[in-house]
């Protein structure tokens, strides 16, 4: 089982991801408050985290950098409405496993998740 987490302050976008993954093989969690990430009991079970770039209080790249430092084994995916800008503003020490445009389609999302979970299978 591949546990994934979506972080986005926008409830409508999270509900869209939920709909897109209905019936898929992924066990998905959804979080609207990025600051609450560290209190989640499922945190250590996650294999992939997908974070929106523009959120109140913290950007997706800042959050993913913290995640990289505390839980380096979790794959990191940035989702942004302006990927070009977001990537030029990346901290040099942050390594992303993938980046997706916002909004992203079900096909693009599943393709990304399959690729990343396949990499996990291949390396474990």
């Amino acid at each position: 089982m591949c546990n994934i987490l979506f972080i986005d302050d926008d409830a409508f976008i999270l509900s869209a991801y939920q709909r897109m993954l209905r019936g898929s093989v992924y066990q998905a969690f959804y979080l609207q408050q990025p600051a609450q990430l560290w209190q989640q009991a499922y945190l250590t079970s996650l294999t992939i985290v997908l974070a929106d770039q523009q959120m109140p209080g913290i950007t997706g790249t800042e959050l993913l950098l913290q995640l990289q430092q505390s839980h380096p084994a979790i794959k990191r995916v940035l989702i942004s409405g302006d990927l070009t800008l977001a990537i030029t503003q990346l901290a040099p020490e942050l390594t992303l496993d993938a980046a997706l445009p916002k909004p992203c389609s079900k096909a693009a999302l599943l393709d990304c998740l399959q690729r990343l979970s396949g990499e996990l299978t291949a390396t474990t």
């Binding site: 926008d10 976008i13 869209a16 709909r19 897109m20 109140p56 916002k102 909004p103 079900k106 096909a107």
Partner: protein, 140 residues
């Protein structure tokens, strides 16, 4: 940038492609959720326009703060993504223009484009209600 006048108000083909599903259940779930959330965002944008983004002589001493413009850019950015999910192309285009104007602190463009919101949003709302009704959504 596309001419807003030629863009569809609501293109269900986009929604179906994004969600990978053409069922009435998914269409009504997506459109009703969008209608609820977008109404909230549009109200916030209209309020911001009335209170902060005025370039007329009565408000020359009350230029919008950087925070107000940043908030407006953030609202437009979020609404733009929501529009992209359901195929609300005309409002998406307007949000792109508004977001850019807010980031560049171009108050004249911002004020002019906010006036268009008063035309684009009711047109979209009407189309949303009609489409929901056509797909059997009871609460229109």
């Amino acid at each position: 940038m596309a001419d807003a006048a030629t863009l569809p108000v609501l293109d269900l083909n986009v929604l179906i492609a994004m969600y990978g599903d053409d069922s009435a259940e998914t269409i009504t779930l997506a459109l009703s959720g969008f209608r609820r959330e977008a109404t909230h965002y549009v109200q916030q944008l209209q309020n911001a326009g009335q209170h902060n983004i005025r370039t007329d002589s009565a408000r020359k001493d009350h230029a919008p703060t950087d925070t107000a413009l940043a908030d407006m850019a953030r609202l437009c950015h979020s609404l733009k993504s929501m529009c992209g999910l359901v195929g609300a192309a005309k409002l998406m285009q307007l949000c792109m223009t508004l977001e850019q104007a807010a980031r560049q602190q171009d108050l004249t463009t911002l004020q002019n484009e906010l006036l268009k919101l008063a035309e684009v949003w009711p047109e979209l709302l009407s189309q949303l209600n009609l489409t929901l009704l056509q797909h059997g959504y009871p609460d229109v």
